[in-house]
């Protein structure tokens, strides 16, 4: 239990160990610790940034989707309008064509009717003349009465 030079030896050893610790142990370990702390902080930062980016991107996507939907609706609307327009035009054309065909047909019919009427008139004239001939029993001079007969035919 004597106090002796051991304490000097102990102090010397102590200082040497402290110096060693200070030079070779502490700096690398604490540097590694701080670096890792920084890495982790950066990682967390990047993660939160990525989350924010994702949110933004999703928002953008939603907006684009909405825009696209609007455009699509517009196009459909236009197409519908155009469709109706085309149908209307076609209908109008068809009506005009039908009218034209009908008018043509009517004109033809009229023409034919007139032809038939003329023929009938002529036939009726000759029939009337021959009837009258028969009734009178005498032959009527065709040439003499031609004027009369045509006058008659015109009256019918």
């Amino acid at each position: 239990m004597n106090i002796n030079a051991t304490l000097i030896g102990q102090s010397v050893a102590f200082f040497i160990f402290v110096l060693f610790c200070m030079k070779y142990v502490w700096p690398p370990v604490i540097t590694a610790l701080q670096e890792r702390q920084k890495k982790i902080a950066d990682g967390l930062d990047a993660a939160s940034r990525a989350a924010r980016d994702l949110e933004l991107a999703q928002e953008k996507v939603g907006q684009q989707l909405r825009e696209a939907k609007g455009q699509a609706a517009e196009i459909i609307e236009q197409a519908k309008k155009r469709g109706t327009q085309i149908v209307d035009e076609a209908r109008e054309q068809a009506r005009v064509e039908a009218d034209r065909v009908k008018a043509q047909a009517l004109a033809e019919i009229e023409q034919e009717l007139n032809g038939v009427k003329d023929a009938l008139r002529a036939q009726l004239g000759s029939l009337a003349v021959s009837g009258a001939e028969k009734i009178l029993g005498a032959s009527i001079d065709q040439n003499a009465h031609a004027e009369l007969v045509s006058k008659l035919a015109a009256e019918i």
Partner: protein, 289 residues
């Protein structure tokens, strides 16, 4: 322990250091008993204390150097993890207490904590194992060998005086010689009157000087006292092993119980030594008087 030894002889043997010094009669030699060791005076070395503490210190330094060399900021290995836990713990303690900038304090704290812990840890090794081993190796069955360096007041006082030297060094470095002397003499009592102040200086100096000296003394004696008492109880328990089957069984139970309790003490004392060192050095850096 030799069967012929008495209990008091056994205890005495366990509490005597292996001393190498200059004996007035025998010259430079190992002391053969406590009386010879005492006669050697100051210039003697406790070889066991120095050897064990240096071996443990080297173990600490080499282990931590190995970890530091391979330290990476990526995924740490097991050893690095262990070292980092200690480094972070000490770094946290220093940052909580010490607000200046000093690259020495934290490594100093780490060294004290781990080294004192390792020296204290020797207390948990059954008291006869290492002395017997040392006796076998040296061939002298009666070799003195104290295993726990911190039960030697020289070791704890050596540490405490080193810390004290640092306290003085930083006090003077931060405050200057005048500031340091002023701190010792102008507080706690001060007066605007020059004569009263002159009268108060010796009183102040007495108070402050005791405060200053108490730091290393309390540091050394706290550690020494705790570990010495613990070691003594281990030795007393070890005596029971020679006292028959019943006492032996009781001794085993007691040994276990005391060892478990002692785990707390050795860590706590290492922590207190480190913490007080940090606090004292932080006080040395504060210039608020």
């Amino acid at each position: 322990m030799a069967a012929a030894e008495t209990a008091s002889g056994y205890i005495q043997h366990h509490l005597t250091n292996l001393t190498y010094g200059q004996h007035p009669v025998n010259g430079w030699s190992f002391a053969h008993n406590a009386k010879e060791a005492q006669e050697m005076g100051f210039w003697a070395f406790h070889v066991d204390t120095l050897a064990v503490s240096v071996v443990l210190g080297l173990f600490f330094i080499l282990l931590f150097c190995a970890a530091a060399k391979r330290a990476t900021s990526g995924q740490p290995g097991k050893l690095q993890n262990f070292v980092e836990v200690l480094v972070e713990f000490v770094d946290g303690s220093v940052k909580d207490t010490f607000h200046g900038r000093n690259a020495l304090i934290a490594p100093l704290g780490l060294t004290i904590f781990v080294w004192v812990f390792l020296m204290n840890f020797m207390d948990l090794i059954p008291v006869d194992w290492l002395p017997m081993l040392a006796a076998k190796i040296s061939g002298d069955p009666h070799l003195y060998f104290r295993v726990v360096p911190t039960t030697d007041p020289n070791a704890t006082l050596g540490l405490a005086l080193s810390v004290f030297a640092l306290i003085l060094y930083y006090s003077i470095k931060v405050k200057g010689i005048g500031g340091f002397i002023g701190e010792l003499t102008l507080h706690p009592f001060g007066s605007k009157n020059v004569f009263v102040q002159a009268l108060l200086i010796p009183v102040n100096f007495l108070l402050e000087f005791v405060t200053l000296i108490a730091k290393p003394i309390s540091l050394a004696l706290r550690l020494f006292g705790n570990l010495y008492a613990g070691e003594l109880i281990f030795i007393l328990i070890a005596i029971m092993f020679g006292g028959g089957l019943l006492l032996g069984a009781l001794g085993i139970a007691l040994q276990w119980a005391w060892a478990v309790f002692h785990i707390l003490i050795i860590v706590l004392q290492a922590f207190i030594f480190m913490m007080l060192t940090i606090v004292y050095l932080s006080m040395a850096h504060e210039d608020n008087h």
